[in-house]
């Protein structure tokens, strides 16, 4: 049986189709949309919780979606060791449902930030980063209003001790995240949440060469696709040839 990836869809998700397109058309792995009301899901080798504004960010981003039936299933899959990736709002949902520690709060600028940034891989032992070199830097877009990663000193100490900080912004801090954190994983490494959007930087047509305007390399690379290719290479089932 060929590998299949599930994409959770909530009212207000808006990056689900981008992720679906990249997986099916660019990477070449079967990926399906799964509506949030599903109580029982089976036959999937990994789950992606995409970006957007699930339930309109009511109360705070991710909290209402965290209580939806599909997240019970995602929790079960995470416990079984299957890879679970949350992107942007998906990261917020994973934090609110307790799969990842800490909180994502309003950017310190109090503004929605939508631009390219640079990140560095600080853990390449996860299923989502295994094809990156350690300390590799790459450009990737961000688009969020609540992306400031915050945790108390006890959680931060644990994250560092257990090598759970996976990506860090390299220089400028776009949202005020503690320790420039852009992505973290759980202790086992099979659940990762990231604020930047790899699906928006996985094809040349989506990138912009900004080298003439500034001297950093963000905006001109499709390296972010390595998040998805790493994931697919680590699935128990192999993708269709």
């Amino acid at each position: 049986m060929a590998a299949r990836i599930g994409i959770a869809v909530f009212p207000g998700s808006n990056c689900d189709r981008d992720v679906h397109y990249i997986l099916n058309n660019t990477i070449g792995v079967e990926a399906d949309f799964i509506w949030h009301t599903k109580h029982r899901i089976s036959g999937y080798d990994a789950m992606i919780i995409p970006g957007g504004f699930a339930f309109g960010d009511r109360l705070r981003p991710g909290i209402i979606a965290a209580h939806s039936p599909i997240m019970q299933e995602v929790k079960r899959m995470a416990k079984d060791g299957l890879p679970v990736l949350g992107i942007c709002n998906g990261f917020q949902i994973l934090v609110e449902c307790g799969l990842l520690p800490g909180a994502l709060m309003m950017n310190d600028s109090l503004r929605f930030v939508c631009r390219w940034t640079n990140v560095q891989v600080t853990n390449n032992k996860t299923p989502f980063t295994s094809q990156f070199a350690l300390r590799q830097k790459f450009g990737i877009p961000i688009a969020h209003g609540d992306g400031r990663y915050v945790a108390d000193s006890k959680i931060l100490k644990e994250l560092k001790k257990k090598n759970q900080i996976v990506l860090r912004y390299t220089s400028d801090n776009p949202n005020g995240s503690t320790d420039l954190i852009a992505a973290i994983c759980n202790e086992d490494g099979n659940v990762m949440g990231m604020m930047p959007h790899p699906e928006r930087a996985s094809e040349r047509i989506l990138t912009v060469d900004r080298s003439s305007r500034n001297n950093n390399n963000s905006g001109s690379s499709t390296d972010a696709i390595t998040i998805f290719s790493s994931l697919v290479s680590n699935l128990k089932q192999k993708a269709m040839p």
Partner: protein, 91 residues
């Protein structure tokens, strides 16, 4: 039957813990309150307030039930926020 059960207003205040900086509160303080002439105001912290109307036999029960739901449904993220629940009397 519900007609006989009294209604109470219960306020839920979700406030970030002191270690979380609060740029919204700081901006309100610096750029509105102090610039507006109220330099006696030392600080401003922003918070979120939910007002719930609860059917309950007693005020105490109404408060207890809201306290329970705040924990159970994670109305606040305990890593970064504190939650205060208080009844303000009959609706």
């Amino acid at each position: 039957m519900e007609k006989d059960v009294p209604k109470f207003i219960v306020q839920v205040i979700i406030e970030n813990k002191p270690y979380i900086n609060d740029p919204e509160g700081e901006t309100i303080h610096r750029d509105l309150v102090v610039k507006g002439g109220y330099s006696n105001v030392q600080s401003v912290r922003s918070a979120k307030m939910l007002k719930m109307v609860v059917n309950s036999k007693t005020e105490h029960d109404a408060e207890a039930s809201v306290k329970k739901l705040c924990q159970e449904l994670r109305i606040f993220n305990p890593v970064v926020s504190n939650c205060t629940v208080k009844s303000t009397g009959k609706s």
